[in-house]
């Protein structure tokens, strides 16, 4: 019980990869876990940053693919980036 409340207290943030189309929010952190992405965690983090996924940036999920709602098209500030949900799990948003 106390553990559960701790989790919600520490992170009301959730991964962008789990959000649905229409989601609007702000990036809290880029945190690459062991998500079986094809890239080493550090490389994935750098690529996400190079595409503008930086803490504080506004994000909005504009579109989803037809199969498994994947990939997603995300507005990051004023640009639109397509990526798969698996990689978007590393983007924590509120």
């Amino acid at each position: 019980m106390s553990r559960e409340s701790q989790i919600t207290a520490v992170k009301p943030r959730s991964p962008l990869g789990g959000a649905l189309a229409g989601f609007c929010g702000r990036i809290e952190a880029i945190l690459v876990g062991d998500d079986k992405s094809g890239l080493p965690p550090d490389e994935l983090e750098r690529r996400l940053i190079e595409l503008g996924f930086v803490e504080g940036a506004r994000v909005e999920i504009l579109h989803e693919g037809a199969f498994g709602r994947d990939p997603i098209a995300v507005r990051v500030d004023h640009a639109t980036v397509a990526l798969r949900r698996r990689e978007a799990m590393a983007i924590l948003v509120t």
């Binding site: 094809g38 994935l44 750098r46 940053i49 199969f67 098209a73 004023h78 640009a79 639109t80 798969r84």
Partner: protein, 625 residues
């Protein structure tokens, strides 16, 4: 190269993907462009000359687009090495011209901050400034230049006079460039440095740029074009229209070219005395080259579609829509563009797989690219379909011939997906698939000038090929089909005594189970040089055996000599058409290994044989033998 002896200035164009860099390069250099390769690698080197208002001649190099100098693909390595002056064959640029899309500066400004560390003189070009102004983007240019510590100039690559200001600034900056380079402090940034740089760029944007709401037109279009159902339907509709267009719009122009060559052939026939020379010019040269050149209109229409979709910004959307479908088959969404280019020709397609930075994805794409129906198969398909498939409408609007064509293309795509799916299990069972991340640019109206320059380049390449490789092969085929001469008083067509007949008959037993006659066996040999040569070879083989009239109507002759089953088996063989030597050569070069070349050749040969065999026997069983 004489670059070292050249006193002119060398400037390099760098920029993020979709910054309009190539349009700017085209606007600045026009047709004074040279396309070559960097030595040792297969990255295209595009350079061109431009003259500033004061008469200074500047060599401009267009570098592959990148978000960072942290190279992740062979293309980006070239950009990094040229910018850093590490490439021995290349003069280090006197000035780095960083091109940015004025409507989308966030990532570009981070790149500028990174480029500053290189220590070379730097100029930031705010490209597409007209679109930004129209959309209400307000940029305090003087302040932006001050905060970045880099001179800034605006440009509109696509409008006349839109680059005047840029040219003037290049003139101003050129004299100071020579001695302005300081030691480079660049090193590959880690994630903390990238974050810090992006934050700095964001702070500069906040203080110097007013960004209005995002492009509403793009948002409205995307609501439809990226819709899970409607978007896919529209994508397939576009592809369907594309193939109908290739098949029917090109017809009048093709007839015109065919008539032209026929007239030329008839003129030669009546002017030159009968004999070997007449036969060589008429049957070897004119009918051979003519039967290939007449496909120029189809190739141009196909490239017109590809270039328009690319300039429109639709290609990234197509990759988005196709990612999951292709991902299921083990392909990367980004493979869509190389595979789409492979519809024109597998060679540029395979070369453009360089945009895929992951080796595994790249190899899979290379492996299946030759299965995309390249334009060299169009002559073969058109010929056989025209001769054997009735020209009528079904459902009142769709041409049956067009539908068969569409079916052949679909068969190629389906087999490509199948092969890559199998490759995933054979070669890369334990590897997790790498990410798909792609910026989607705002929609933009294609620029006629850019599209025309693109079309011009393709037409030139095709005609050069027709004039050299194909012409050479035609001479060989004519020779094989004409010598040795038949003995005096021999019965039957002369070609039956020729070398070609001997070779054809030698490999015929292997191909007979597919319903192929020896003429087809002969035509497949020169088809190795280029797939479309098979048509010209058939023309030569049949025109020499059937007289001048036959040369003008290869299709008519084939319809009389082949059974429907043979024709369909031939089409099935050409879905795979494993015998294109230049494709195999480019696979060897791009993968740097004989293994992948052998794998490609082997699996395509096997599939072609099985498909043709099955088609022939099913057709015979159904009574088309």
């Amino acid at each position: 190269m004489t670059i070292t002896a050249d006193p002119a200035w060398h400037f390099a164009l760098v920029g993020t993907p979709n910054s309009g860099k190539t349009a700017l390069f085209n606007a600045l250099t026009g047709k004074r462009q040279k396309v070559a390769n960097y030595p040792g690698v297969t990255v295209e080197r595009k350079s061109g000359a431009l003259k500033t208002p004061s008469g200074r001649v500047i060599t401009l190099i267009d570098l592959p687009g990148t978000y960072s100098l942290r190279a992740r693909s062979p293309d980006e390595e070239i950009t990094r090495d040229v910018v850093l002056g590490r490439l021995k064959s290349e003069t280090a640029p006197d000035l780095i011209v960083c091109v940015a899309d004025s409507t989308n500066l966030r990532l570009a400004l981070r790149l500028v901050l990174e480029l500053k560390r290189v220590g070379r003189p730097l100029l930031l070009v705010l490209n597409m400034f007209d679109i930004a102004a129209k959309r209400g983007v307000k940029i305090d240019i003087a302040r932006l230049a001050a905060e970045l510590g880099v001179p800034v100039v605006t440009s509109v690559a696509v409008r006349r006079g839109g680059t005047e200001e840029l040219l003037r600034r290049l003139d101003e900056l050129a004299p100071g460039c020579a001695n302005a380079t300081v030691a480079s402090t660049w090193q590959a940034p880690d994630s903390a440095e990238l974050r810090a740089a992006q934050r700095q760029a964001d702070a500069i944007i906040r203080s110097t740029i007013h960004m209005p709401a995002p492009d509403t037109l793009t948002a409205k279009l995307d609501a439809v074009l990226l819709h899970p159902v409607a978007g896919l339907a529209i994508l397939f509709l576009i592809l369907f229209v594309m193939f109908q267009a290739v098949f029917s719009w090109a017809q009048p122009a093709m007839n015109l070219i065919a008539d032209g060559f026929a007239t030329l052939g008839a003129f030669t026939h009546s002017t030159l005395p009968a004999g070997l020379l007449q036969s060589f010019i008429e049957n070897g040269v004119i009918s051979g080259v003519g039967s290939v050149v007449q496909f120029l209109p189809q190739i141009l229409i196909l490239f017109l579609f590809i270039l328009l979709l690319e300039d429109l910004g639709y290609m990234a959307r197509a990759a988005f829509l196709m990612d999951r479908i292709m991902g299921g088959a083990g392909l990367h969404g980004r493979a869509f563009i190389p595979l789409l280019s492979s519809f024109a020709c597998a060679i540029p397609g395979i070369m453009s797989t360089r945009v895929i930075d992951n080796k595994r994805d790249r190899l899979t794409t290379i492996l299946v690219a030759p299965l995309m129906t390249c334009s060299a198969r169009i002559p073969v398909y058109t010929l056989i379909i025209g001769a054997f498939i009735p020209d009528r409408l079904i459902w009142g609007w769709a041409s049956l011939q067009g539908l068969v064509m569409f079916g052949l293309y679909t068969a190629g795509i389906v087999s490509a997906l199948g092969v890559s799916f199998i490759a995933k299990f054979v070669f890369w069972r334990d590897d997790p698939s790498p990410p798909f991340m792609l910026e989607m640019p705002d929609y933009k109206l294609p620029r006629p000038k850019s599209v025309l320059i693109g079309l011009f380049t393709r037409a030139k390449a095709f005609l050069t090929r027709a004039g050299t490789t194909i012409f050479g092969m035609m001479v060989v085929v004519w020779f094989l089909a004409s010598f040795p001469r038949p003995p005096v008083g021999a019965a039957g067509p002369a070609i039956n005594y020729s070398l070609a007949a001997m070779i054809g008959r030698a490999i015929h037993p292997l191909l007979a189970p597919l319903g192929f006659n020896w003429q087809i066996s002969v035509a497949l040999i020169p088809g190795m040089a280029a797939r479309e040569v098979a048509v010209a070879a058939l023309g030569t083989v049949y025109s020499i055996s059937g007289g001048a009239e036959a040369a003008q109507q290869i299709g008519h002759v084939l319809a009389g000599q082949w059974s429907m089953a043979t024709a369909l088996a031939f089409l099935a063989w050409y879905i795979f058409a494993p015998q294109c030597a230049s494709t195999l050569a480019v696979i060897k070069r791009e993968t740097g290994s004989w293994k992948w070349m052998a794998v490609t050749f082997g699996y395509m040969m096997a599939l072609a044989y099985i498909a043709a065999f099955a088609t022939y026997h099913i057709a015979v069983a159904l009574g088309a033998g």
